[in-house]
């Protein structure tokens, strides 16, 4: 009998692929977006099976929750569901075929090379083996700070690969704000630039108090004289 988690992995993988296919094949953008939602949720399931619980939760909260809602919102605001937006571009589809072939080739190559190797080593269960001459956190579950760097157990990056710490909030946080703090901050500056750009593009100009309202357009032929328009209209009505 197949291991239950392996069976779940196949189910989630199948759902992810089906969702991806749905995104490409559905003619209506909203249907495509809903397929993408299922794909994202399946990916979260796969992360959870890989013991990356925090990443799984974040995948659901950010991608399946926030980003998908925004995607659907934008599709609706731009009214992409209308008939003229659903034109099928056959030539573009043909151009995708070589890309698809290349992707399959790469994936197949990757799978074959992985299958040739021995199974990936399981996460370490016992004490951490320190590199020679360097102090490190050896026991990740005792609540004692062995190497004296003020980081105890899972909060120490030495423990990131141990089974009880892998994928936990503490281990991910310690890595993000430890060895990877520079890329992390660069990413946040990038996001900040995006926010500032969005405000600059859509917001009011400095010194402009009210949003500028263009003067009402005059319909050609309806009113002869623009300056005395209202009176002209009144007389027309009276006549």
């Amino acid at each position: 009998m197949m291991d239950f988690s392996v069976a779940l992995l196949y189910v989630f993988s199948g759902m992810a692929v089906a969702g991806g296919l749905g995104l490409v094949l559905c003619k209506h953008p909203i249907h495509g977006a809903i397929s993408l939602l299922f794909s994202m949720l399946s990916l979260a399931g796969i992360y959870a099976l890989l013991d990356a619980h925090l990443i799984a939760a974040l995948q659901v909260i950010i991608y399946a929750g926030a980003i998908m809602i925004l995607v659907v919102y934008i599709i609706m605001l731009l009214d992409l569901g209308s008939a003229d937006a659903q034109t099928v571009y056959r030539k573009a589809g043909l151009m995708g075929l070589p890309l698809l072939a290349l992707l399959l080739l790469l994936l197949g190559q990757g799978m074959i090379s992985v299958a040739g190797d021995a199974a990936a080593p399981p996460l370490a269960q016992g004490p951490v083996v320190c590199p020679p001459g360097v102090a490190c956190e050896t026991d990740c579950g005792d609540g004692v700070d062995q190497d004296g760097d003020n980081m105890t157990d899972c909060a120490d990056t030495d423990c990131a690969g141990v089974a009880i710490c892998f994928g936990t909030v503490e281990a991910v946080g310690a890595n993000l704000l430890g060895p990877f703090v520079l890329p992390f901050e660069i990413a946040s500056v990038l996001l900040l630039a995006g926010i500032v750009g969005a405000i600059l593009l859509t917001g009011r100009k400095p010194g402009e108090l009210e949003p500028s309202v263009p003067p009402p357009a005059i319909q050609p032929g309806s009113i002869a004289d623009a300056s005395g328009s209202s009176e002209a209209q009144d007389t027309e009505g009276a006549v």
């Binding site: 925090l54 974040l58 909260i61």
Partner: protein, 335 residues
């Protein structure tokens, strides 16, 4: 009972038993909670307005909701001709299923959680976001302007109020030092444990307001404001489709109040009575506050609602979070 559990464990294994028993228990909880809440809400409404509420069927009208359910089951499910059929039928399911996952994460007592995960609090809020997608799918597929307006309002409201909800919960997480719901309860019930309502009264206030808005309840019920939008996002739903949306709404109320009881009121902590009873009592106390708010305050306008979230609740919860972090650091350095 024990013999039955042993037999089940023999045939299905420990994991299968947890799944089966948990599923049946949660299905029961969802149904009973919704039926009780409808009756409770009508009774409280009657009490607030100086009238009796339902009195006809059963003592104090307790059987009223049961009969309403029978009536609802007998109704025809009408699918209008112009709807997007697949999405229309899928929407109530997408709105309801996350509720089941969220209920399975709640700590009903110290060791009574169906799925005990490391970052349980985060997962609960995550599934809440998915249920919003169900509301939106229903609103869009109905092909009705009232439903669409209700759906768009629901989305902007939920995005706005998710921030103060998460930020107020994060202040508690900082105090407890964990995202695991069981450990958050344990941090409040130990030797020197204090319920976090003492340390985080501001966060509790923000949480309750944001939770009311997240569940689209009055005075924040503009997504289904009946005087302007007929019934909002579920205008076109009848029979079971409507019933599932309805069930989902009452289940989400239970869930946000369950999380509130876990974060601020010590979960199943209390003297004399067993833990689950205390938990349920605390949840229904918070639900009572939500019901009272509905019958006490008038509905907010859309711009007032957005101003409250973005200009008041989010800055306040950020300041609260910052102050909490500063005090905790100060205490840590001082000791």
């Amino acid at each position: 009972m024990t013999a039955l559990l042993d037999t089940l464990e023999g045939t299905l294994g420990g994991w299968g038993t947890t799944l089966l028993v948990g599923f049946v228990a949660l299905a029961g909880l969802i149904t009973v909670n919704a039926m009780f809440m409808v009756w409770f809400e009508r009774k409280v409404a009657g009490w607030v307005q100086g009238r009796l509420g339902p009195m006809e069927h059963g003592p104090q009208g307790t059987l009223q909701t049961l009969l309403d359910v029978v009536k609802l089951l007998g109704k025809e499910s009408i699918i209008p001709a112009q709807v997007d059929r697949k999405v229309f039928l899928l929407a109530p399911v997408v709105a309801f299923l996350p509720a089941l996952a969220m209920l399975s994460l709640l700590p009903y007592d110290n060791n009574l959680t169906m799925t005990d995960v490391e970052s349980g609090l985060l997962l609960v809020f995550a599934f809440g976001g998915v249920s919003l997608m169900g509301i939106f799918m229903g609103a869009w597929s109905s092909n009705n302007k009232f439903a669409l307006l209700g759906g768009m309002r629901a989305v902007s409201q939920n995005i706005a109020y998710e921030l103060p909800l998460l930020l107020s919960a994060m202040a508690v997480v900082l105090c407890a030092g964990s995202l695991n719901l069981g450990e958050i309860v344990a941090a409040q019930t130990g030797e020197n444990g204090l319920w976090f309502i003492v340390m985080q009264p501001v966060a509790l206030g923000i949480y309750l307001i944001a939770a009311t808005a997240e569940t689209n309840r009055a005075p924040f019920d503009i997504p289904e404001a009946e005087s302007e939008l007929v019934a909002g996002f579920h205008t076109e739903y009848t029979g079971m489709g409507f019933a599932v949306f309805f069930l989902a709404e009452y289940t989400y109320m239970f869930i946000v109040c369950g999380i509130g009881a876990t974060l601020f009121l010590g979960g199943g902590d209390g003297p004399l009575l067993p833990g689950p009873v205390w938990f349920i009592l605390k949840v229904y106390f918070l639900l009572f506050l939500m019901v009272m708010a509905r019958w006490t305050y008038p509905r907010l306008r859309f711009d007032q609602l957005m101003n409250l979230a973005w200009k008041f609740l989010i800055p306040l919860s950020l300041i609260n979070l910052l102050a909490t972090a500063a005090v905790l650091k100060f205490v840590e350095v001082g000791s």
